[in-house]
Symmetry: C3
Subunit: 271 residues, 3 copies
C-alpha cells in the first residue's frame, strides 16, 4: 500500500521549502534530494514567503529557533494555507523552553498544520501543555510498554488540531485521530545520528507534497521508509564503522529505496 | 593549461573568506581545505570586514540570505575592492524572491565582482531582470541544445558587469564577454548532492585567489576540476552507495586531484 | 588513568549545550553523540538560558559569531555558574577581529570559564592582548620547537583566569597553571577537516560534564582521545580517500573508542 506513494514522490519531485535549524539543514536537504524531492531553505521574513509560493510543501522545524524567524514561519504558513500546501510541524525541543512551546502553540493556532511529527515529550507538551524535553536527540520515549497511552495521546492531539500526528520512538504511531498506524521499522542506532528526526519530518513533507490527498497514509509511508532505511543502513555497518558512516549509509539507503522494497519491508498494523 | 593554476592553488594556500548559507557551509569549508585553500566564515557586519582584511579572496553566496547579512556583504566587498581581492558572487535563487534579486543587483552595482557563478535561471535573471528559479538545486538548465543562446546570455552579462561569468549546468560556459570556454566535465549525480554549486563557487574563489591575474582561465579550471571530480566520484560508487557516499567521494576527489590529472581530464573547447 | 574518565562519560551520558557556529554544528552534535553525550544547540537569548538549565555542561564557540548571540552566551554562562556546570570556551578566530577578541575577554570576565581550548594564536591573544589569527583552521602553531614558550604561555593564561587551558596543535598542552600535560596523539590530516577544533571543544565539554571534579585530567583525556581517533581514522584511509572520508572515519573512531583503547593509546608526559 505504501509503494504507489513513494512512486508518486519519485515521479512528481516536489519542491519542499524547509525552515529548519542550522545543525541539521544540510542532512535535511540531502535527504530531500535522496527521496526524489527538491529542497529549498529560506527563513528571512522578507525572503521566505516568496519561496513558499514556488513550493509544493512546507516544513517548519523549531530546532535552534530564533525569535526573528517566527514571523517568517507564520507568513509562510499563511501562503501555504492560501495555496493549499501541506505544512509539517516538527516541534523540536518543545517543553524545554517557553519560546519553543509558545511558538509551537501559536503555529498550531494560526497555521493549518497538516502533520505534526515529534517524540513523546514533544507530543505530550503540545497535548497537555506540559512535558519534559531535556534533549532533542531523545531515544527513550514511546516503547512497546506504553503504547496504549501513547496511542490515546496521539489521537487526542490529532483530534484537537485536525492534523495527522506522527509520534515517533522505538515504535512509531501515526494517526488522524481515528485510524492508528502502529509501525515497527527502525533501528536504535538512528538515535546516534543527530537530526534523523528532522530528516524524517522533511521526508514526511516530501511524501505529503507528492500525495496531498492521502496525508495519513503518506505520513505512515514516510515513517516506515525512514525506519526501513535505518535497518538497511545498519546491516551495512562494518567493524570500524560508527555513527559517521551510519549517517552516510542512511542517506544512501533513502536514495536507493524502491517502492517495491518499501512495500515488502514495511512492518505495521492498524489499530 | 589548467595544471599550473591548480599547482599555484596548492602552493599558495590562499585564505578564502566565504559569506555563505548555513545549509552548505560545512561542505564549502571542507571543499576549500580539500583543494588546498584555507576557509574562514564570518557574516556579522561588526566582524566580517576585519576577516576579509586577512583574506586572499571573498565569496558571496545568497543562499538562506538574511537581511542583516547584506551590510556585511557590502562592507566586505568594499574591503576586497580596496585590497584588490577577487570577489565571487553566487546568486543562489535569484529570481525566486525580490530580496535575493535586489541584493544581487545591488552587489553588482556597489562591489567590483570578479566572477559570477550561477545556473541558467540565475544568470538569466541577472541579465534580463527576470527569470524563474523555483529551486536552488536545479539540474535542468543549460544543455547541448540551448548552448548558442546561453553563450550569448553569458557574454552579455560578462560585458555589462565586467565580471567573468560561469554559467553551469549539464554543459558549463565560462566567459569574459569575449573568449568563451565550453566545458564538458561533470556528472548528473552532482545535482543529487545539495550545495555542489556553492562548493564550486568556493573552488572558483580559491582558484581566483591563487591566480588573480588569470581570472578567466582560473574560473574555467575550477569549473573543469569540479566536474572532473564529479566523474571520479561517480566511478567509485558501489551498489549500495547513494548521494550520501557520493557527497563524501566528491570531497575526496578534490582532495586527491593532481595538476596532471586535471590537465589530462579536462574536456573543453574555446568558442 | 584516562580510562575511567571515558567510562564515566559513556555511563553518565551528559546533556551538553553548545552555542556554536553554523559551519561545524552538525559535526559537533554528531561528535557529542559519538562519545556518549547528548547534544542540544540553542543560541537565541530568549531560548538558550532555559536550555542550559537542563544541561550538564556548556560550550561557547566564537566561530561565525553574531552580535545577537553574545547576550545568550552571557545569560547561559550565568545559569551555568548558578548550577555549577563546567563551561568550555573555544575562542575561534580571536585576534582576527575586534568583535571576537572583545567577546572572548568579556566572557572571561563575566562567566566562570572552566576550560579554554584554543590554538597558539588564540591563546596568545587572550594572554597578551594581541596575536594573529588569519585563519581558523590553522595547523601551524605549537610544535616540538616552541614547546617551552608555549607551556609558559598556557600556564600564564590558566593562572590568570583560573581555567584549565588546552593549547592544541602538532603537540597539545593542557594545564591548570601548575601541572602541565604534554600530549603527543593526533595526526596532521586533522587540519584538513573543518571544525576538528570545535569538535574537540565539545568533547572537552562532554568529558568535563561527566567528570566535573577532575577538570584537568578530563580535559587531557579529551585531547588525547581526539588525537588518538585522528590516528585511528588515518590508518583506515584507502588510496581514494581524502578529507571527506577522513571526516567520517574520525566520528566513527570516537564512536568506537573504548576506555581500554584510550588507556593504551594515550601518549603524554607530565612536566
Amino acid at each position: 500500500m505504501f509503494a504507489p506513494l513513494l512512486q508518486n514522490l519519485r515521479d512528481r519531485q516536489p519542491l519542499v521549502h524547509a525552515i529548519t535549524n542550522y545543525v541539521t539543514a544540510n542532512d535535511c536537504a540531502n535527504l530531500l534530494l535522496a527521496c526524489g524531492a527538491s529542497p529549498v531553505m529560506a527563513d528571512d521574513p522578507d525572503d521566505a514567503p516568496q519561496i513558499t509560493a514556488h513550493a509544493g510543501g512546507l516544513v517548519l522545524n523549531l530546532g535552534t529557533l530564533h525569535r526573528g524567524t517566527i514571523p517568517a514561519m507564520l507568513a509562510c504558513g499563511r501562503i501555504a494555507a492560501q495555496r493549499g500546501l501541506p505544512v509539517v510541524l516538527d516541534p523540536v525541543g518543545v517543553g524545554a523552553s517557553t519560546l519553543r512551546t509558545d511558538t509551537a502553540l501559536q503555529l498550531l493556532r494560526e497555521v493549518p498544520i497538516a502533520v505534526i511529527r515529534g517524540n513523546l515529550s514533544e507530543v505530550e507538551t503540545l497535548t497537555r501543555g506540559h512535558g519534559g524535553a531535556p534533549g532533542v536527540d531523545s531515544t527513550q520515549s514511546i516503547t512497546p510498554d506504553n503504547l496504549e497511552g501513547c496511542g490515546a495521546l496521539a489521537r487526542e492531539l490529532a483530534r484537537r488540531t485536525g492534523a495527522v500526528v506522527a509520534l515517533t520512538g522505538a515504535v512509531d504511531l501515526v494517526t488522524d485521530g481515528d485510524t492508528l498506524y502502529c509501525l515497527h521499522n527502525g533501528h536504535p542506532m538512528m538515535g546516534s545520528v543527530t537530526g534523523t528526526g528532522c530528516q524524517l519530518s522533511c521526508l514526511v513533507g516530501a511524501f505529503a507534497a507528492a500525495n496531498p490527498d492521502s496525508l495519513l497514509s503518506a505520513t505512515a509511508a514516510a515513517v516506515s521508509a525512514m525506519g526501513l532505511c535505518g535497518e538497511i543502513a545498519h546491516r551495512r555497518l562494518g567493524p570500524e564503522d560508527g555513527n559517521g558512516s551510519y549517517r552516510t549509509y542512511l542517506l544512501d539507503a533513502v536514495y536507493r529505496l524502491t517502492p517495491d522494497q518499501l512495500e515488502k519491508g514495511a512492518r505495521y498494523e492498524l489499530r
